[in-house]
């Protein structure tokens, strides 16, 4: 989780397509490690995406979201240079925020 999130925000017309890859184990609490012991539940519960400071995506996740989650959100009315901010908080209280700018369509 020390790894930054990969945030790609690209404009298609006036819609920003924001795709995020997060480094997180998203443990279900059902997996056993090499010693045969259960790896405890460890997953992202709260995840928000803001565009220029306004929340556009306010998500509650379960441990059934895949390991190293990939998710996307699309926002209308965006412009190149708009600031995208993604924050997650997990069930252990660990958190992380990363930012990126919306890129013009190429």
């Amino acid at each position: 989780m020390a790894e930054p999130m990969k945030i790609r925000a690209v404009l298609k017309g006036d819609v920003a397509d924001i795709r995020v890859l997060i480094a997180h184990p998203m443990e279900t609490g059902q997996r056993k490690d090499a010693k045969g012991e259960i790896v405890p539940l460890h997953f992202i519960q709260g995840i928000t995406v803001a565009l220029n400071g306004k929340t556009v995506y306010d998500g509650q996740w379960s441990q059934a979201v895949s390991r190293n989650p990939v998710f996307a959100v699309r926002v209308k009315g965006a412009k190149a240079g708009d600031k995208v901010s993604v924050t997650w908080v997990d069930n252990k209280g660990e958190k992380r925020t990363d930012e990126a700018a919306v890129a013009a369509a190429s």
Binding site: V15, R19, T28, Q30, R31, K32, Q45, G46, I47, T48, L51, G53, K54, T55, V56, Y57, D58, G59, Q60, W61, S62, Q63, A64, V65, S66, R67, P69, V70, F71, A72, V73, R74, V75, K76, G77, A78, T87, W88, V89, D90, N91, K95
Partner: protein, 155 residues
């Protein structure tokens, strides 16, 4: 923090929807969101309980919710699910995998220009119907799609 939020709401002026959404707490932080996490819903093991927890008991089936996902996913640990809603006023989209040990997978509230769209990769334990639940204008709608799983992905 309070002063900034108040000024922001004043700037929003006559945009009643945004003020209402702000008052309803949609401008909360991820930390606050984790604190209001739908524990009862996410802990539900029965599909009916999970659906009830998100207000989907008795929801209307809708053809205006499009679920794009593989018919067959070889790896149940990474199943891409995309939901597009054509229902006006879509405020939230939830994903529920009926046969998962804990069926409720995610609930996403959308605001401030967010398109009625969501994409996320999920784990599925076995072949199952995956439901998309959309809340719009005070009503709840659902659609479903069966996804066949070759190798389960929960454990």
């Amino acid at each position: 923090m309070k002063k900034t939020r108040r000024s922001f709401l004043q700037l929003a002026g006559g945009m009643c929807a945004i003020v209402a959404l702000g008052a309803a707490g949609l401008l909360r932080t991820a930390a606050a969101r984790a604190a209001t996490w739908n524990k009862a819903g996410f802990d539900a093991k029965a599909f009916a309980d999970a659906m009830k927890s998100i207000g989907a008991a008795g929801a209307t089936e809708s053809k205006d919710i499009v679920i794009t996902a593989p018919d067959i996913a070889e790896n149940g640990a990474v199943v891409p699910v995309e939901v597009t809603s054509r229902i006006p006023g879509t405020e939230s989209i939830s994903i529920v995998a009926e046969k998962n040990p804990f069926p409720l997978v995610a609930t996403v509230d959308l605001a401030n220009g967010s398109e009625p769209y969501t994409y996320v990769r999920i784990k599925m334990g076995q072949t199952s119907d995956v439901y998309a639940v959309v809340k719009a204008g005070g009503k709840v709608f659902t659609a479903k799609k069966e996804i066949k799983i070759t190798v389960g992905g929960c454990g």
